[in-house]
Subunit: 71 residues, 6 copies
């Protein structure tokens, strides 16, 4: 059975550059097409995930965190 | 001068279906490639934005709200 | 292989009462011990998850969303 | 009169290990039962709270920040 | 002893109009000066807070949720 | 045409002190009246915004991220 997430936004992505900080770390993510994303998490979570560039991951974002701007 | 956002994730998208609720509303967004996104905002904000299907918008998500999952 | 989440807070819980709204829905969750939690998600996500009282779920919260208060 | 929070999730916890970073800091929290939580806040907020291991605190999480996952 | 919050943004405000929805509710808040704010919470939390227009409340926002835009 | 944001809280502010960290940075913001705010963003976003003390910015906060507390 596949894992199901209670969130509207679920994107398949590939891990890119990783910047490891003292408490927080940042991970670049290449999604389908030309969309480039970034995630910030604790450095502890980064270690638990054991992420390496090239890893395939799922990117989950709750719809409430998505801001729409009309210019 | 262009507007600059203090957020890592900035995606151009086209407004799709809109579901208007009593307090909160939901907007589907078609991003570049095949990525489909959703945003939830107050119905008041939806009215202020005056969104219609086909409108071009920017989608802004702070990196801290992006969850990475490795299956 | 087990699913790994880029978030510090991961709690096993059992689904309790579900309140389905027009756009947003609310799910009560009984965690280990006597901790009772609630989640709000879109009604669309609720349907995708196909949650029923008694279901076993994982509750994921990024550490940045946890507010500490000292009274 | 007791303080009331506009959030569904309110857990009593004891402060555990604290990791102080340049801008952000991380605090481990032992909640009732065996639930272990983490909070990330600015190092400025950490100093204002004057947290020490063993301190009793309230942990507040808005329901919208709680992600439900069904594996 | 006063309550201390692990969040950078703490504003004193007066409750204004309240819009009660099925699952989520919206509260207008008049802060010091001419700043007008809004909060969305579950209707359950609204009932627990027992908010009425004119009530004095504290408005807490973690710094990570504040988006800076430069036009 | 002016930029429109899908968020209830939009405050004009002036940039104050900036603290640049390894991954995350913190910006103080002086809003109208006596309200002082803080934002945390990635150091990458800080560089993209090219913020300097005295800059005029817009501060955007979605209503769902605003916690109301009644003491």
């Amino acid at each position: 059975m596949t894992t199901k997430y209670g969130a509207r936004n679920q994107i398949q992505a590939t891990v890119g550059a990783i910047k490891t900080g003292d408490v927080m770390s940042q991970v670049k993510l290449e999604a389908i097409g030309t969309v480039e994303l970034s995630s910030v998490m604790t450095t502890d979570s980064l270690k638990d995930l054991d992420l390496k560039p090239g890893d395939k991951v799922s990117v989950i974002v709750k719809a409430i965190h998505v801001l729409v701007v009309k210019e």
